[in-house]
Subunit: 237 residues, 2 copies
DNA sequence: TAGTGGTCTAGACCACTAA
DNA sequence: TAGTGGTCTAGACCACTAC
């Protein structure tokens, strides 16, 4: 809502996604955009840099900003989005089942993952994500009580991120992610519809606030045949 | 080599990676860095933005730029690096075996992947990547002949990217990537040491030049137990 | 040659943090 | 209050592209 360059980014993006600007064509030049939005060139450039970073345009020196036709991310590992935000793009084909919500004293592994002492308590949240009536993802969340003192069933069924950001006024900023493939555990087999497959894709998330404090460790365990993510990568720095 | 902000980025990065600046401490303020490098604030900010984007620092308003202790990427899906560049960080524990190098007429799938007509020929390169004497990754590359006219055994054994960028003077710019888990094919079982596992992690790459022309399609097929990547993700735009 | 994006500068005002 | 990073402006010169 605040910065001009973000508003302009969003406006151009909506025109690209809405098909108003077709892929393969060039955006108006930076000087034209300056006039159009009545801002300085630096502000326009920030907007275009965002579009380029996220894979919507490619800037070509001497020519202009070419609109790309890369499709949107299905499971964005490189972004940091909540399941609720993801689900909203999937037309209600998803459902969440809350299996467990309790305040626990952390074991050694969780203490290490969250970098806390044994005096600090931790919220443990286990949720199953159903897609088209099949249990596809097992989400195991561990959240530091000192940062999120209260957690209710309703919050867990809706969106923990939304609560943390809007309810508590904290800013979720960045995460370290790790993706591996492992043999399924008994817990996986108990909660997921694994069919014949005996492996799961494990996405580990260490999530930090904007003051660089670690507040959440999450493990998302996916049925492999339903796991897929598309990413956009740039070469160089 | 050219831009000041990239030199400054590299200099600060080497100090962080070399331990000269420890994680958990703050970088000098932007105004101090301005004086130190004798550049404008905008230039310093570009350097710091790069460090933040790549997960080395977190900027905290009113405080400063905090150095993070996130370890380096193992298998960077979100970056766009060649296997040779990756291997250089692994102390020669890796080896490449060239299985196939030929110029073919594309089948329907390849025509679609590379978005070309059947008149254009395509280089097909099949390579096995050994890590610690085990055959872990099967790389299948398809490269448009019109862009890369010559391809030799030596180039494929060394680095195709290096040849394209330095030999041909082209600039590899961005890629669309897709990661899935699939059942192993006969070809996978033939070329890889799959042990008991019957699945592979498939990383598909559509690689573009800086003029937004698609020139390469690559499929990297990994043994699942050896597949792992760590990524850094920021929330927001 | 004219137009494009890439880089750099100098200065301004703001919001946030800490003492 | 002083210092920090966040945003925005106006102007400059460069390298590249197209004609």
């Amino acid at each position: 809502m605040h910065a001009k360059y973000i508003s302009i980014y969003k406006e151009i993006l909506s025109k690209i996604e809405g098909g108003e600007i077709s892929s393969g064509t060039f955006l108006p030049s930076e000087s034209e955009l300056m006039k159009k939005y009545d801002v300085s060139r630096d502000t326009i450039r920030k907007s275009l840099d965002l579009l380029a970073k996220n894979g919507f345009i490619e800037k070509v020196k001497g020519k202009g900003s070419l609109v790309l036709d890369i499709h949107k991310l299905d499971f964005p590992v490189s972004n940091l989005v909540s399941f609720k935000e993801l689900a909203e793009k999937m037309d209600n084909r998803v459902q969440t089942i809350l299996v467990d919500l309790e305040l626990i004293s952390p074991d050694k592994q969780i203490m290490k993952d969250l970098n806390i002492s044994k005096e600090e308590n931790v919220w443990k949240v286990i949720r199953i994500r159903e897609i088209d009536k099949e249990k596809i993802i097992l989400d195991k969340d561990y959240i530091v009580e000192g940062i999120v003192p209260d957690l209710t069933k309703d919050i867990c069924m809706d969106s923990i991120y939304e609560y943390v950001e809007e309810g508590l006024g904290l800013q979720i900023s960045f995460a370290k992610k790790e993706v591996t493939v492992q043999n399924a555990t008994k817990e996986d087999r108990k909660y997921l519809d694994l069919d014949d497959s005996d492996m799961v894709v494990v996405v580990k998330n260490y999530v930090y606030l904007s003051n660089a404090i670690l507040f959440q460790y999450t493990e998302s365990r996916h049925r492999p045949d339903k796991f897929r993510f598309v990413d956009f990568a740039r070469r160089g720095y």
